[in-house]
């Protein structure tokens, strides 16, 4: 942790960009993990919340001049509301496993198509976020380093939140629901309420990540923010690292993100080859480490869990 705070100013620009990427995907993984890992509700459409966050804060900035520092929480609130709506529809009617995943995917795709066809939000041209001048109060910085510390702080806060939840009543309720919903209900756990809480928290945090993305890259469009690559990017670090564990998404991102950078570099010029290699590595990881890296380490140590 100390190295993560102290070293980055010394890093060359490219390495710093990779590190920002690592922490950013770790953050989204942590957010996804609350719902997908702890509650065991496998969302395949977290891009919906990510996009709501990115578009809300950016539109508020462009149309009303509202600083994204505030806009991100408006976006978070909207995303959480949307998440509760999605969750209530799904959970109320008992959708589980792949059916729930499909519903989340459908909602994200729906938002992607709607935003593609809505002129007011820039349709397929997307939105350009002003970034020419440094204005920390407006979430605009010169250089990459401040962005790094912002996402590092967001990651640390999300990690701390996950850790606290895991040790509190909600964490136990979520684990019980994940393991066996009927037994959880019989033990007095309000399964619907627990899942909705996880949904709200997870979508809220994911939306904040959307705002970060918009400010950092200074450009958003429907395919980037509502597309499946964000949904997959959010769930992979958690699954590869260890779903339902505090550190899983962090570990997962520290392995996956540089790996994807490396394959892209090693196979430059051959379009798509890097994604195929990356995919092959993922298949291997998921086949041989179904409990994720954290599960693997625990098994080697002979721990109880």
């Amino acid at each position: 942790m100390a190295a993560l705070i102290a070293l980055p100013p010394l890093l060359p620009k490219y390495h710093l960009e990779v590190l920002i990427s690592v922490v950013f995907w770790a953050y989204l993984g942590i957010a996804w993990n609350l719902l997908g890992g702890y509650a065991g509700q496998f969302s395949f459409g977290h891009a919906a919340f990510f996009g709501i966050g990115a578009y809300t804060s950016t539109l508020l900035l462009l149309q009303a001049g509202l600083t994204p520092w505030v806009g991100m929480f408006v976006g978070g609130g909207l995303a959480a509301t949307f998440g509760l709506f999605e969750g209530y529809l799904s959970f109320r009617y008992g959708l589980k496993g792949p059916y729930f995943s499909l519903v989340t995917l459908a909602f994200a795709e729906m938002l992607r198509v709607v935003s593609l066809n809505t002129k007011a939000v820039g349709s397929s041209l997307g939105l350009v976020v002003p970034s020419a001048t440094a204005a920390p109060a407006m979430f605009m910085f010169s250089g990459k380093l401040p962005f790094y510390y912002v996402i590092l702080a967001m990651g640390a806060l999300a990690l701390g939140l996950t850790w606290r939840i895991g040790r509190a009543r909600l964490g136990f309720s979520l684990a019980a629901v994940r393991e066996n919903e009927d037994a959880a209900e019989a033990a007095g756990v309000d399964a619907l309420a627990a899942k909705l809480r996880a949904m709200a928290l997870s979508s809220f945090l994911t939306a904040l990540g959307g705002t970060f993305y918009a400010q950092y890259f200074a450009y958003i469009d429907p395919t980037i923010t509502f597309g499946p690559s964000v949904s997959i990017g959010a769930l992979l670090p958690a699954i590869v690292g260890g779903a339902g564990t505090v550190l899983g998404p962090v570990l997962g991102s520290f392995v996956l993100t540089p790996l994807s950078e490396l394959t892209r570099y090693a196979l430059r010029g051959r379009a798509g080859a890097d994604i195929m290699l990356y995919g092959a590595v993922l298949v291997l990881v998921i086949s041989f480490l179904p409990q994720g890296l954290v599960g693997f380490v625990r098994a080697r140590r002979g721990g109880a869990r």
Binding site: F172, S173, A175, A176, A183, E185, A186, A187, G188, A304
Partner: protein, 238 residues
């Protein structure tokens, strides 16, 4: 006032009537056994009481108030806990963590919930396994874990669904002893059981279900002599 009172309880699944016009009363402090051949509707009756199914018609009152339409967790929080015939531990959690899930109904704070869970784990005789994942327990220990999870919710009435099925005679004796200890804590019990010597020894009163209807009711010795009960179990004399 009875602790649990069911009147004219009926549950139909499509054309099949699983429970029909069933009356049952259980007073505080009682152990009531619910017996009957396979398919008689015993487990359906449990599902109805615990809120896993909604009755087609009829009334269920717990501590004088209707609980029809309540969700299982709400019924549990009122003080009516159940175990499952097919044990359903939270396999990935440790024994103590399993029990803590129940304990959180009475203790908001994690440390207090852990204390309550540890006490209950000890009470059911699982303390040597408290930090083991539930998936590594033997069937007998899983049955104890089911009871522990229910007990941690501090119930007034505990429904036990075949807590002894699949166990050997020594293990059965252990569970009988545990049920007596639970009763001694002031908890009333409604028990489904196929192990006859156990349910005869434990129950103050037996209720016999057959084809979803109440066939007989009385003390264990009355029921054991009842001609209709014998016929239901063994078939009619030629």
């Amino acid at each position: 006032m009875s602790l649990l009172e069911m009147t004219a309880l009926t549950k139909r699944f499509g054309g099949l009537t699983a429970v029909s016009n069933f009356d049952l009363r259980l007073d505080a402090g009682e152990i009531v056994g619910l017996i009957g051949p396979n398919g008689a509707g015993k487990t359906t009756a449990f599902h109805l009481i615990a809120g896993f199914h909604e009755p087609t018609s009829g009334e269920i009152r717990f501590k004088g108030a209707s609980i029809v339409g309540f969700k299982p967790h709400a019924i549990c929080q009122l003080g009516l806990a159940r175990t499952f015939q097919i044990v359903q531990p939270f396999a990935g959690l440790t024994v103590t963590e399993n029990v803590m899930v129940g304990a959180f109904n009475r203790e908001r704070d994690a440390a207090a919930a852990r204390r309550l869970a540890t006490e209950i784990v000890d009470f059911v005789g699982l303390s040597p396994r408290r930090d083991m994942p539930a998936r590594s327990l033997t069937l007998s220990d899983r049955k104890r874990l089911e009871m522990a999870r229910g007990l941690a919710t501090r119930p007034e009435l505990l429904l036990l669904d075949e807590a002894m099925s699949g166990l050997n005679p020594t293990e059965i004796d252990g569970i009988i002893g545990l049920i007596r200890l639970i009763h001694a804590r002031g908890i009333s019990l409604l028990i489904i059981e196929h192990v006859m010597q156990a349910i005869m020894a434990l129950s103050h009163r037996l209720v016999v279900l057959h084809h979803g209807e109440k066939l007989a009711e009385g003390t264990p010795s009355e029921v054991a002599r009842d001609r209709r009960v014998i016929e239901a179990y063994l078939g009619e004399e030629p």
